[in-house]
Symmetry: D2
Subunit: 390 residues, 4 copies
């Protein structure tokens, strides 16, 4: 009988599993990524959710804002100003806040808890807090605020100066499969955007192997509607989205510089990237169809082999059998990424296809994966749920 | 701080949890309920899936038929005739087969394993098998074949005589919340249909309390499309269902006699039931809006209190706060049932609303809940996943 | 060969059709009912759309707000204050405005155009306008503001006093099939709500024939999301609605008094009505499953015959063959209403099912049907488009 | 006031419209394209639908197979063998049959009606028929059978020899905007596939102008589910498609050679085409995102100008304002194609986006557009319905 990787990983995490409990908080618990963090963590054996922070919904029970989580008996939502950091004594905080607001929140949080990162930065911290908080709080940020290493690039793409550039260098880019060691020791992890997660898992090993022309990469991306968050926009109304499809942000989507940054690190040449996202009438799921020009002597099968080798031991990344098309329904609700490579009819080209659940591997699941590493837990703990299909 | 029921239940099942492993099989693994059994059991700490049986798909890997389960490393699908029961030495088998075929399969299975139930029935069994199989196999049936106690009623509604009436009396009706003790000791459990599950959870305590007129119960039910299974019917094509809604089987749906049978057992009067199901363009979810006539002196609030009292300690049934409408999105992918009662504008009437995921609490989840009891495991083991929303 | 009613009606309206052109305006052109008015009228041979009024969107081209109508070359949206009524010299105005705002708009409109209705009401009108406007403008109101005849009932259900009660008595309830003559001569027609349209078409002939107990009518209604309009509400976001279903407004939906008012006029007894709407993940479509208690000696077949007789010559209402279930997909995008009656399993009960497109027969289509009568055109002009399926 | 093209076209076709009536037949009336032909033609002022042919559904009323068309009073479906061609005396026949079966049907049809095309081909025809049929029947084929001019190419892509190669050269490729004159005089028109329709409208003028590198054209296409027809396939079940997305036929979709054939005719160089279709959970709609490499000196704006010039007077093709993304919801149910061009972030590249309704402009609508020309009617007759949104 076959002995699958995932089953043994699961048995490990169950039978030899740590009984230690960590206390975590979620800032931005009234959004979809916040809700999915709660969903995933609610069956995580080592986590106690001790803090749920929200803006407009502060003061309301979680079950009021997300009735599907009402039975979990979690703390009520409170405002950020009401948090008593020392008393809570958290091990880790997830920031699932809108872009641009996170940077100030993180700065405030580090000061409020007298984080030792301030020492390294030669930033003064409050002595009363230093004694009160037992240990340094760890931060997993799901926003875009700490993903771009270059503050100028941030300003270009987000239209304003970064408010906490001093911590930008301390942030580790949380594409777990490629930054495992750095994530383990990090105080602040910036989780990749959903689009970059799928794109980088599909492209990094191939770019690293110089198997394609990195100056001519075309990414045609399709995303479910949760990618747009829970904010009130006409374009997100059911009747605008259902039974319909369209591209958006053509040529200027903010996930582009993030992909370019990470690809450029590994490519031996200049990176040229075209990225066109589309909105699909489904809640979850992200599909990227990536058109690449092969380096001399390379074939689609070669690319497939590169990916298969690279991910052979990865619990969450699967390269499918030749000819099998990745589909979002095969990863829905799970932390999986499925990949495959296909021959193109244009000679010298190949097509790479990647599918993830944008809310899980593309956001909250990957955040928990990073959390596990940061807390010294087995990486797969709490993340082995099979996809929900149909 | 509140100490929620579910969290303590979960901690129990995790920390004090049994390390025993049981071997189970799934007959009918290529259908949606079979797939959802695999999904749920894949993270169950005490279960090893040792057998997957399918008809047309026999010989194919599970990942071929359900790519979302391909990474789990489970056995290939095989035909029923190929199963070597003694060698497998299973503890329990799920029958997720089409209606009408199950009865013969169960009969054959009991004979093939030399089940001691045959002794009780004074039915001859094969001596060679008796020695080979260590213990009696337990059976959890998800079909309709053993739900109706009266063979005549079966024949009336299903249009042919029952093929294994001798085992019908041995079957326990697996509405767990109402038959816990019987399920624990049962050799054969007949899980309720999805519609009856929601209807009975909503109505049984109220009928038992004689708080409504049991001769005038109107159930308007709405179901997601998985309720129709994975079979090839024009009416199940995407383009026939999407962006549309309609009732079906008006006045003659086969779930009716099952509801009447169970309600009649507890009502002090004749039961009159109207049941109209509707097909809704969604994969999962079942909503029942039940219109009842109050018994003298009863109010909608009284009904709500009856339900709240009855389910106060149940891990999977929640009565919502007054005024909050149950919604299928609040239970999607989970084993939860949510209930509420509303005043009607017609004096003397009330409206009860119930929501479940038809594939989980309405089928595979409830089946696992019963399995846990039959195997002596904590009832909630493997079933505490929070709903997947959005 | 059969000679179908609809084909002959269509030929009439095409071949013997009037070449007169009427000028109309739409107030509230940025909502879904406004857009559907434009869609329907864009191929109406006798209509010129001369005015499009919107609130927040004033000043924008229609194609900006509704790109699917951008190719029609219609006037830009303007604010209500900017309208020069005399210069426009309109024949008819549609009010597709939110409830509660319409009453004041209509009042202002009548004054602004010096409508002769003011004379009848002994209300002073501006002499300068009287001379400027060639003829009395006709008004088709799609809001709820003029549907309830009793101002007290309005105040009870809408929470504030009516602002134009003097015109309430002048309004004709625009359920075309039942008020044809009154509509023809009306200055102001109040189109029924979408739910009442389906319910009244299903029930009025039956109640009139005293074939059911009018004190025990249960309406379980299911609506597509356009029923909620284009306003920004969290509950209307794609991710809240898709792959889900729930009831809302249980026991207190504002369409109830309207149904009761119209039913009471025709019933020989007190009306008792229960109405529970549900939100369905589809754009268009409304289905009502109506549970009724038969009067002595009546059967489901009798009810069906009553409906079939009543609607035999109606171009837009079809009673289906026995056993065929009405479905929203069979009327999508059309002005049709399909009906059928089924036997109930509870003796003495029957089930009536009605399906319409809530935006067409339930709103804009019925409004155009009324317009045709008010302008002396054949009733079916511009309304014979077949449903869009799939 | 602006005087829009479409409005004037519509007025023309309405006011100066022909009163002549033509008799048409539809072979393959039980599929989705057949149904959409009926829908469109049901309000066409010059058409009488005199024949509806179906395979398995022969003998049933149309309303049985498509209840939404049941009120139109059309003839019952009959088998192909039962058709009495001379008695019917049709002007034109639509073939909406599955690929590969059409070629033999067309051959048989030409013989059965003693078509004069046989003379040209020096093929013997039956004398009795020649006298019986007043005039040559015209054929509009919606299948792929007569699209490929090269019989070898047909055999390569469809896996078998063409059964009526003698008529292949007589067929005119029915991309109306580019073959108007040829269509007008054609006996047999082969309508383009849905994917080629959008792609060719987007690319032909640009390729003709040699404004891009025709050897590197990447088409990422997304289609609604009606594109797959009404046949019973597991992959078309609601639960397999809803809430999901995936590519299919990567590198070997049969629409590719058709695109290449038409592009090659107009390009001054060899054509290299990559085409990857995706299945989207919606009924109707097709979006193509086309990635092209600009010829020297060309910009995205230049491409846009080329398209805007080319289609300035076309009633059904619209080039949107700069920056506005085409969306399928803006063409749903209509014969429109919307186009736009965007700058790419990769220097020297541009992105063209096209949206159509695959069943209308991509199939039945374009077929009627061709029919109008073949019958000498104004091209837009019966096709001016505005899109159905939402």
């Amino acid at each position: 009988m076959r002995f699958p990787l995932s089953k043994s990983l699961q048995r490990n995490s169950l039978h030899g599993m740590s009984t230690q409990t960590f206390r975590i908080g979620i800032l931005g618990a009234s959004g979809y990524t916040g809700a999915d963090l709660v969903r995933i963590l609610s069956t995580h054996p080592n986590i106690e959710i001790s803090l749920l922070v929200a803006g407009r919904s502060a003061g309301r029970p979680l079950g009021d804002v997300f009735p599907h989580l009402g039975h979990l008996g979690l703390p009520d939502l409170i405002g950020l100003d009401e948090v008593e950091w020392p008393a809570l004594d958290l091990d880790l905080v997830f920031c699932a806040l809108p872009h641009a607001t996170t940077q100030e929140v993180v700065k405030g949080l580090l000061h409020a808890t007298g984080h030792s990162l301030l020492d390294e930065m030669l930033i003064e911290r409050r002595e009363d807090l230093v004694s009160a908080v037992r240990r340094d709080i760890k931060i997993v940020d799901l926003s875009a605020d700490f993903r771009l290493e270059d503050p100028d690039s941030y300003e270009t793409w987000y239209g304003r100066a970064h408010q906490a550039p001093e911590f930008q260098s301390a942030a580790v880019y949380g594409l777990t499969e490629f930054n495992r060691d750095a994530v383990r020791g990090a105080a602040l992890v910036a989780c990749p955007g959903c689009y970059p997660t799928a794109a980088l898992l599909a492209l990094l090993p191939i770019v690293e192997a110089q198997a394609i022309d990195a100056s001519d990469i075309i990414i045609d991306a399709k995303s479910g509607v949760t990618g747009g968050g829970r904010s009130l926009k006409e374009s997100m109304l059911f009747c605008e989205v259902a039974e319909a499809m369209h591209p958006y942000g053509i040529g200027h989507h903010r996930h582009m510089p993030e992909m370019e940054q990470e690809l450029a690190k590994r490519a031996g040449q200049e990176v040229g990237l075209s990225f066109t996202p589309h909105l699909v009438p489904m809640n979850r799921g992200e599909l990227e169809t990536i058109y690449v020009r092969l380096a001399k002597g390379q074939s689609a099968d070669d690319l497939r082999d590169i990916l298969a080798d690279r991910y052979a031991k990865e619990p969450f990344v699967r390269v499918l059998d030749p000819g099998v098309a990745p589909a979002t329904r095969h990863v829905r609700g799970s932390n999986l990424c499925v990949l495959n490579v296909f021959e193109d009819r244009i000679p010298g080209r190949a097509i790479i296809v990647a599918a993830i659940d944008n809310l899980v591997k593309g956001s909250s699941g990957q955040a928990v994966q990073n959390m596990n590493l940061m807390l010294g837990l087995p990486e797969t703990t709490g993340l082995m749920q099979a996809p929900l299909f149909p």
